[in-house]
């Protein structure tokens, strides 16, 4: 939140004072106290409550639409025999894509020994966990018989890419949860000991979750080692999760999907949208919680460079995907491409390619483009573009089967998602944001102990270091 007037600022100070110990009772040095004051979780203000309310209402609407779908079947969607997969599937791919950010920031950057990543790790993990949880939910929503979900475990065939997806997604969720949780342990102990004016259950929750963290040397050794192991583990997992998701398409004969380029094409796109999501999250949290000291222009600049690099890689795979097909223009494959480049999907296609990829690359190549406000706008464009890009991967292909579509009702020849589908999709997106918000409300969004460690303050905080 940007404080527009002094009244608002005063309110914010008062709000913080409620949860943070007063200065005179302080046992910490000024610097440590400031760090804790800035970063311990804070109660929702008015805007926070409105935000929660809006997200919750969208979730309820989505739930209502889903109940309707359960009652009447998938007939409430606009999916039919030809467009048999729709925005549920593209939304699923979007969620899986965005979840790759967790591994990017907490694993790849960690192993590359990038120091500036520290304040971003938890934001990335929160986004990753929320996204992968809702990827799982949305895929169940897409099932014709969701109550038979258990068939996957009882009758599962390892030959099916769907089973591969079930395996990698659940593994990835587990590792992501651990990568969120383990670095939280010292912070949880801090929350338990230092937060005042919190309800009993919350303190109890911190107490249980902190697993009796005392901050001994041995404990730090264990979590540091575990985090390192997980960071290494999650990289092949991240590649697997999105490659396997791309294989749901690439293992079929369908035009536009029958491509060996699909694995890296999906993975690079996923890293790109994930980086953009982190930047957007950074910007919003930084303004709302006044974290300018921790998330600086330098962070935006670095993330901007990373995003432009990832976008260029994605651009390369786009060229590889479309140019080769376009060069040959093989029958239905050519028709499919034509529908994207100059046919009925062209407006959406070019919007996505230009605003979701080309313009971001051009803007972010310049230092001024990597300042917080422009890079935030660009990141939002990338995230929105990425959602529609997945629509363009799923739907046009299904509209171009090998055997021409004939003798079918006109409404079957195009796919326009019904309001129920939009409501469920919006509900899942709102649900993911809601989960992120709740995690941020409960846990420090910037790892306090890691910042304290970097600043050499860790020894000052008793609950964190023995």
């Amino acid at each position: 939140m940007i404080y527009t007037d002094t009244v608002q600022y005063a309110e914010e100070v008062k709000r913080r004072a409620k949860t943070i110990p007063k200065k005179e009772e302080q046992k910490f040095s000024k610097e440590t106290h400031e760090l804790i004051t800035d970063l311990l979780p804070k109660k929702f203000g008015r805007s926070g409550k409105i935000w929660i309310g809006v997200l919750f209402s969208i979730c309820l609407l989505g739930l209502f639409a889903y109940i309707k779908q359960l009652r009447y079947g998938l007939i409430v969607t606009d999916m039919r025999d030809f467009s048999s997969w729709g925005i549920y599937i593209s939304n699923f791919v979007f969620f899986v894509a965005i979840s790759l950010v967790g591994s990017l920031v907490s694993a790849i950057l960690k192993l590359a020994n990038v120091k500036w990543r520290t304040p971003l790790t938890r934001i990335a993990e929160v986004i990753a966990v929320a996204a992968i949880v809702f990827a799982g939910i949305i895929i169940i929503v897409d099932m014709g018989r969701p109550e038979r979900f258990w068939h996957l475990f009882v009758y599962g065939r390892i030959q099916s890419p769907i089973i591969w997806d079930v395996i990698v997604i659940s593994t990835y969720l587990t590792v992501s949860l651990l990568l969120l949780y383990l670095p939280l342990l010292p912070d949880l102990a801090l929350c338990k000991n230092e937060m005042v004016n919190i309800p009993k259950w919350q303190r109890k929750l911190y107490g249980i979750l902190s697993l009796n963290w005392k901050g001994t040397k041995k404990q730090y050794q264990i979590i540091n080692k575990s985090i390192r192991v997980l960071a290494i583990l999650i990289i092949p997992l991240a590649l697997a999760i999105h490659t396997v998701t791309s294989w749901l398409f690439a293992t079929t004969f369908r035009v536009g999907w029958d491509s060996t380029n699909f694995g890296p094409y999906f993975v690079s796109g996923a890293f790109m949208v994930g980086a953009a999501a982190v930047i957007a999250g950074m910007y919003i949290l930084r303004n709302h919680y006044n974290l300018e000291k921790y998330i600086t222009h330098k962070h935006f600049d670095h993330m901007g460079k990373l995003l432009v690099l990832l976008s260029l890689v994605y651009f390369y795979f786009n060229i590889n995907e479309y140019l080769i097909t376009g060069y040959k223009m093989k029958n239905v494959e050519g028709e499919h491409l034509q529908s994207l480049f100059s046919g009925r999907f062209a407006p959406m296609f070019w919007m996505v390619q230009i605003f979701g990829m080309m313009i971001p690359i051009l803007v972010l190549l310049f230092r001024k483009g990597r300042k917080p406000i422009p890079i935030f706008v660009i990141s939002v464009l990338v995230v929105v573009g990425a959602w529609f890009k997945r629509f363009l991967i799923v739907t046009p292909t299904l509209m171009h089967p090998f055997i021409p579509m004939q003798n079918i009702p006109v409404s079957w020849t195009h796919y326009i998602p019904s309001w129920e589908e939009w409501a469920v999709t919006a509900g899942s997106l709102a649900g993911a944001l809601l989960l992120m918000t709740l995690l941020i409300r409960l846990f420090p969004i910037i790892p306090i102990w890691e910042i304290a460690e970097e600043k050499g303050l860790l020894k000052n905080i008793k609950s964190m270091k023995e």
């Binding site: 079947g73 998938l74 014709g144 890419p161 769907i162």
Partner: protein, 310 residues
């Protein structure tokens, strides 16, 4: 009293004879089905015509003709088992197809589908601008290397020993991966509860082995090569309904196919008329062959149906 007793006696006698007859004759003729016959067949009035049979212990016995040659009843098939010792195959002669649409109607009727939907489709095909258009009926190809079966996560669609690709609608989770995996768009989905709603008489009439025809909401269905007909040794409804004899159906092992009017050697038919399989290059090995649309019986006439799509 005595009358009832007599009747009882004659009943038990009948049953005994039936057992003998079935053990000796029907069992050989109809295989395991005959055993079910003992329990399933209703009492029939005697026709008066006697037939001599060899009983299991080697005596010649006379039984009423109504007791043998029983009407083979519809019994629940194990959907994961195909017809024994069969390899079904279909040949579609494109030279004969005039888009009469009777196959679709018969299919819809057989499978209790609304008239506008059936497991078989008829498309107007045209290879190139200057080549002649022709009609191509497309049922499920029952591929020997089926991409739909490959991708099914729960083994709800599978290949039977008789060559058909079948669906277990009580297993299907409705992920529709098989639908996108099928390059021939052969599969249809039960999008809603009432979409293919059956009338009460239809529900009573529905055969237990018509897995697909039970139209379970949220599951996939498709052409099943009519297993109930196969069980009786009769031809699928699309084959018999076609007025132009386009469809040939039969057993690859017997090397015979029939379109209802004529029965021919499969290998000869394919050889003489240069049979081919659609999109052979995909390597799915369909069990449905096509005969090219040469020396056509009918001139190609545009149908209103295809114009819907445009």
């Amino acid at each position: 009293m005595t009358e009832t007793k007599n009747e009882e006696n004659s009943n038990s006698r009948k049953k005994f004879l039936k057992l003998g007859a079935i053990a000796g004759v029907v069992a050989a003729a109809a295989g395991s089905l005959g055993i079910f016959e003992v329990f399933a067949a209703k009492e029939k009035s005697a026709s008066g015509k006697k037939i001599k049979l060899l009983s299991p212990d080697g005596r010649i016995i006379e039984v009423d003709s109504s007791l043998i040659n029983p009407e083979i009843p519809d019994i629940p098939l194990n959907i994961r088992q195909g017809a024994p010792d069969k390899k079904f195959v279909m040949v579609i002669d494109l030279a004969k197809c005039a888009h009469a649409g009777k196959c679709k109607k018969a299919c819809s009727k057989m499978h209790y589908l609304p008239p506008e939907r059936s497991y078989i489709k008829i498309e107007k095909m045209q290879e190139a601008e200057k080549t002649a258009p022709y009609w191509m009926p497309t049922p499920c190809f029952h591929c020997d290397d089926p991409p739909c079966v490959k991708v099914c996560p729960v083994d709800a669609t599978f290949k039977l020993t008789d060559g058909t690709v079948s669906i277990d609608n009580n297993r299907c989770i409705g992920c529709r991966f098989c639908m996108v995996a099928c390059p021939y768009s052969a599969r249809i989905f039960n999008w809603g509860e009432d979409e293919f709603k059956l009338t009460e008489p239809e529900k009573k009439d529905i055969k237990p082995h018509h897995q697909c025809s039970s139209h379970i909401k949220g599951t996939v269905e498709k052409c099943d090569f009519c297993p109930s007909h196969a069980q009786k040794g009769t031809l699928p409804d699309c084959v018999t309904a076609c007025p132009n004899g386009v469809f040939y159906f039969g057993d690859e092992q017997d090397d015979t196919v029939s379109n209802g009017d004529e029965t021919v050697r499969l290998s000869e038919l394919l050889k003489e008329k240069s049979g081919y399989r659609y999109l052979e290059e995909l390597g799915t090995k369909p069990r449905v062959y096509y005969l090219p649309p040469v020396k056509r019986r009918f001139p190609f006439e545009e149908s209103n149906d295809t114009k819907i799509q445009g």
